[in-house]
């Protein structure tokens, strides 16, 4: 099992090296095969590790392995160390499994791009980084994976680097994540001070900090900062919608299925530290709830097909944060998995639409595509039903696990439940708004002109991963069934004990209410957008400030520019203008001129040779040394 885990980790890195070193000696297609093939190796190895763990009793399912000492200082060490346990294997399966499907899809999607090889290399680099993140056995290596996924995300967002919007989006994503990296790192220093190690086995011991003590709060807060930035939760969320500048398979893999959910993994992995600071853990849930609401509202007015899905990703991760914030780790990770299925599916279906419409992403130019792209339409519909949590699609089970847990978590739980239930309504509304606008009705004028459907909608390379994910989006939810079984909770139990879900009438109420809200959302979307109802226009005219607030995305971008970017740019300009230039650059120049003119006048004394200066220096030094000696 341990060798399999190491192979799973390093196979994609080997793929990167192979693509980079072979360069133009292999075809672009083969570069794609190397990338997806190495991810398949990771998936098979993850399966082997999974089966090996399955054969053990639950208490024994934690295996650490260190290959070498990565970093040391004085007499303490950080190993290149992995951990194979139920949580890491769960994540490995999701990352490498969904990753393999998306990388295979990308071979078709990126076909013909002049820099395809670079693309596939970056993609494999991402899979390696993400596996490092979830497999690491200590917090330092986890942080390394954490940074490297951010790097590959940056490289892929600005993959089409001729577009200035893509370059700006890449920088924004990197810098916001660097803020999270910094708070993450700051959280590790007090741990090192207390434990002398960052090894999970040491750090998660009892008594690392007093419950709710300032240190415990700061540690949890630092980790939460990292999680919020990586998972695009409010207030560090503004990079994710812009990240849609990257190629669509990137959005599917990195900005939907895997990397952005790393924050949920982090909180579940370090739940011991969060439980020492319950207020901060609750804060994670509250931030998640706010994100559900804000992102859901913004998604209602977006006009770019990928941005709608991006806001929906933010809001779905909000659900996961609500879950882990309330200690329902199983439910949160269950939703992480089903979300990976249906959100990757939605992005990949959207990618087929974008391809068919000659790279158009504006939904106002789309319409009536269902009849021309029937396969894509069905796949998108399944993804939308799963996202809207309609039974029996995958999202229904996982979302109701989360809401059921919230209903059992006291006053705060009920407050978050209320937001999340309203979020379920919003989710159904914006999802089906998108679906109806894009696929229903008459074929739009733009589509009539530009629609270009090759033989079979998209080609087999792109079709089979979409088909497989469609199946997973239908059946993936049956791992955990209300009134039935809780396989995910049970599997993760040795790592983190999940909070109990509500039972009986409360739970029934939760399920029925949220399902009804979701169906109401779909019905409303049908009424408005399937029939081109003038209601949105009327609302917009009646409440222009509200429409504007939504379109300006609650003014977060403008506020951050004014609060952070502009002050730092201005202080840099001031430092240059009033300190560096006059004090350090010009003053000595004046001095130099002064000395030169003086030396011109004293040319009799000045001999101009370095030697005489050195002599003078030596003599002067000797005099000063003598003074020193006499004084002392």
């Amino acid at each position: 099992m341990i060798p399999a885990a190491w192979i799973a980790l390093f196979a994609p890195l080997g793929g990167v090296l192979l693509i980079a070193l072979l360069g133009q000696r292999i075809s672009r297609f083969h570069a794609g095969l190397i990338a997806s093939g190495s991810t398949l190796v990771s998936f098979v190895c993850s399966l082997i590790a999974f089966l090996a763990l399955l054969g053990e009793s639950p208490d024994e399912r934690a295996h650490y392995s260190t290959l070498w000492t990565w970093l040391s200082a004085g007499n303490f060490e950080f190993g290149a160390e992995i951990l194979v346990d139920p949580l890491s294997v769960f994540m490995m399966l999701v990352v490498s499994g969904v990753g393999f499907l998306i990388l295979s899809y990308a071979v078709g999607y990126m076909h013909g791009d002049p820099e395809e090889r670079r693309y596939h290399a970056y993609k494999a680099l991402f899979v390696f980084s993400m596996l490092l993140l979830v497999q690491s056995g200590n917090l330092l290596l986890l942080l390394a994976g954490w940074g490297l996924v951010g790097l590959s995300s940056y490289l892929l967002i600005n993959f089409w680097h001729v577009r200035s919007t893509a370059v700006a989006a890449g920088k924004k994503a990197f810098v916001m994540n660097a803020i999270g990296d910094a708070t993450f790192a700051l959280a590790l220093f007090p741990l090192i001070q207390r434990a002398g190690s960052l090894d999970f086995r040491v750090v998660f011991q009892d008594g690392i900090a007093e419950k709710s003590s300032p240190v415990a709060v700061l540690i949890a807060l630092g980790l939460l900062g990292g999680a919020v930035a990586k998972s695009a939760q409010i207030p560090l969320h503004t990079w994710l919608p812009d990240a849609m500048e990257g190629p669509t398979p990137v959005s599917a893999l990195i900005h939907a299925a895997t990397m952005v959910t790393a924050g949920v993994y982090l909180i579940a992995r370090t739940h011991v530290l969060f439980e020492l600071a319950p207020d901060i853990q609750h804060l994670a849930g509250i931030l998640g709830a706010i994100t559900i609401l804000v992102a859901g509202l913004i998604a209602l007015v977006q006009t770019d097909i990928k941005r709608v899905i991006a806001y929906s990703t933010m809001s779905q991760i909000g659900y996961m944060f609500v879950a882990v914030g309330l200690g329902a780790y199983g439910a949160g990770l269950f939703h992480l998995m089903t979300h990976a299925f249906f959100k990757a599916l939605l992005f990949m279906a959207a990618g087929i639409v974008i391809h068919a419409l000659s790279d158009e992403q504006d939904i106002r130019r789309m319409g009536g595509l269902a009849r021309r792209l029937p396969f894509t339409y069905r796949a998108f519909l399944v993804g939308a039903l799963a996202l809207a949590a309609v039974p029996p699609f995958a999202g229904f089970f996982s979302k109701d696990s989360i809401l059921g847990s919230a209903a059992n978590a006291g006053t705060l739980g009920w407050a978050l439940w209320g937001v999340a239930a309203f979020g379920a309504f919003l989710t159904a509304l914006y999802t089906f708004r998108l679906l109806f606008i894009v696929f229903r009705g008459e074929l739009s004028a733009f589509a009539r002109e530009h629609l270009h459907v090759p033989g079979f909608e998209c080609g087999l390379a792109m079709a089979w991963p979409v088909g497989l994910l469609t199946v997973l989006a239908v059946v993936g939810g049956f791992l955990q069934v209300p009134w039935g079984w809780t396989l995910v909770d049970d599997w993760l139990h040795p790592v983190a004990e999940s909070a109990e879900e509500a039972t009986g009438v409360t739970f029934t109420f939760s399920v029925v209410a949220t399902t009804a809200l979701a169906l109401a959302g779909i019905a409303l979307a049908w009424r408005i957008w399937a029939r081109a109802d003038p209601l949105p226009e009327r609302l917009r005219r009646r409440y222009p400030w509200a429409a504007r607030t939504l379109e300006e995305k609650f003014y977060f971008d403008a506020a951050y520019d004014r609060a952070f970017y502009e002050p730092s740019a201005r202080s840099a300009a001031l430092a240059l203008q009033y300190v560096e230039e006059p004090v350090f650059l010009r003053s000595l120049g004046e001095l130099g001129r002064g000395v030169r003119s003086l030396s011109g006048r004293l040319s009799a004394v000045q001999t101009g040779s370095v030697r005489s200066y050195a002599l003078a220096l030596g003599a002067g030094a000797a005099v000063i040394a003598l003074v020193f000696l006499i004084v002392s």
Binding site: W70, L140, G589, G592, A622
Partner: protein, 473 residues
């Protein structure tokens, strides 16, 4: 062995310089050969080095002036072995690059570079304070000439400032050395023991602070880095600045424990200001060299922060970061040279779009850039993490300042990468500008390859750091 490491480049320098060359490529070929022999010599030394043993190895100790207690005493410790390795690698790259570009009067130019290499190795290996001073001066004098004769249009002003600053520092250090040696009765580092005098400490500290440079002693830096040739700038920021950090690490901090603990806070304040100040100016600098120069200022101040954390974590992190930053800034300056050769400018506003059709340039610049901004997982991250962890033990406020600077580093490095490589093709970028040539790849890629290797195994450096401080960090 240690003496050979010093003598090969110094003797080679004379050979290259004195030989009356008829063939214009002759001096370059010979200089590069000597630099490579030196590199091989270092590899041999490292292979024979006993890492299990602490203390000096490959020593030479010959009495020089018996009355004064001066002896020619040189030797290698495990941590200086890495600094010497950095020096020979960066020097070989610089000499190879200078040879390939073809400078005026190549015999003198490359001879001076070799001499500089030998002098820096002398600084790292000297075990006697007067010998240290001799090498220190021998290191600075070739730089005066290299900047003043072969530099850009503003070289005279740049040289004047550089001389003025470093002369002042050297003078203070000489005074400090004489005072320290006479009061202790010996100039030997091992025998001298610990000093109590704050004034002697400040004499050393001033010289090192100027050369590093510590804020606000950096007035010479922007011009010197902008006006010198790329390979000299790479040597200056990559290697020579490390001699100053080495001075703190091996002399000022271990010899003056009392003064260090009194002066720690003021020095940390200056270094913290320098870290943020340098990062901000790097973000605003209009040209490639400016960004690299001010980011070097920031990095050197970060290293000083690590050194004055005075614990194992800060100390080991500073050593690792010295090696990292040496490789990073040398690679960046050579890349800047490669860009400037193609476009005849370093102004970021005139550059852009160079990634298209130039995959090697793009890959090497991005790789170096993201290591420079210390992306988690890179060796620069490992170094900065240890430094900040070390300084955290002195007070969490310092670590927060460092964390802010990490975010700023991402901002200025990404700005540099995109300004050169991305978006529309800049007005100064000719369509026919080539990708990196094999010679450029040959000098730059080895530096980057070592950085990548260190990213897999930074402990190879930190396992062999100077053990000044025991216990948990």
């Amino acid at each position: 062995m240690t003496t050979a490491l010093i003598l090969v480049p110094v003797g080679g320098a004379l050979w290259v310089w004195i030989t009356p060359w008829k063939n214009t490529r002759g001096p370059g070929g010979l200089a590069l050969l000597i630099a490579l022999v030196e590199l091989a010599l270092w590899v041999g030394t490292a292979a024979n080095f006993d890492f299990g043993r602490s203390g000096l190895q490959f020593q030479t100790d010959t009495v020089w002036f018996e009355d004064l207690g001066v002896s020619y005493h040189v030797g290698l410790q495990d941590f200086t072995l890495w600094l010497v390795g950095l020096t020979v690698l960066v020097s070989a790259a610089a000499i190879g690059y200078g040879f390939w570009v073809g400078r005026e009067r190549p015999g003198a130019y490359l001879g001076l570079l070799l001499f500089l290499e030998g002098a820096v190795i002398g600084v790292f290996t000297a075990q006697d304070l007067l010998v240290f001073y001799v090498f220190w001066e021998a290191m600075l004098i070739p730089l005066y000439v290299l900047i003043g004769v072969w530099g850009g249009p503003g070289r005279l002003g740049a040289t004047f400032k550089f001389v003025a600053y470093t002369m002042a520092g050297s003078l203070l250090m000489l005074v400090a050395i004489i005072a320290a040696g006479l009061s202790a009765g010996s100039f030997d580092l091992a025998e001298a023991g610990r000093h109590q005098s704050v004034w002697i400490f400040l004499g050393f500290a001033a010289a090192f602070a100027i050369k590093a440079p510590l804020w606000p002693f950096h007035g010479w830096l922007p011009d010197a880095y902008r006006e010198s040739t790329p390979e000299v700038a790479g040597m200056l920021s990559g290697v020579v600045s490390k001699a100053a950090a080495y001075g703190f690490l091996a002399i000022a901090i271990p010899q003056f424990p009392g003064a260090v603990s009194d002066w720690r806070v003021p020095i940390l304040v200056l270094a913290s200001i320098g870290l943020v100040y340098g990062s901000l100016l790097a973000f605003r600098a209009p040209d490639l060299r400016g960004v690299i120069a001010y980011s070097s200022l920031a990095q050197m101040n970060l290293i000083v922060i690590g050194l004055f954390a005075t614990n194992a974590s800060g100390n080991d992190g500073a050593l690792l970061q010295m090696v990292n930053h040496g490789l990073i800034s040398a690679a960046l300056f050579l890349l800047a040279g490669a860009v400037e050769r193609r476009t005849a400018t370093g102004q970021l506003g005139l550059l852009g779009g160079m990634a298209r059709g130039r995959p090697v340039l793009a890959t090497v610049l991005i790789t170096t850039g993201v290591i420079a901004l210390a992306v988690p997982g890179s060796t620069a991250f490992a170094g900065e993490f240890l430094i900040l962890n070390g300084i955290f033990a002195q007070g969490w406020g310092w670590a927060v300042v460092g964390a802010v600077a990490i975010v700023l580093a991402a901002m200025y490095m990404l700005r540099l990468i995109s300004a050169v490589l991305h978006e529309d093709v800049g007005s100064a970028v000719p369509v026919e500008a080539l990708d990196l040539r094999p010679a450029e790849i040959g000098v730059i890629v080895p530096l980057v390859a070592v950085l990548l290797f260190l990213s897999f195994w930074p402990a190879v450096i930190t396992d062999h750091a100077l053990q000044l401080f025991g216990g948990l960090p």
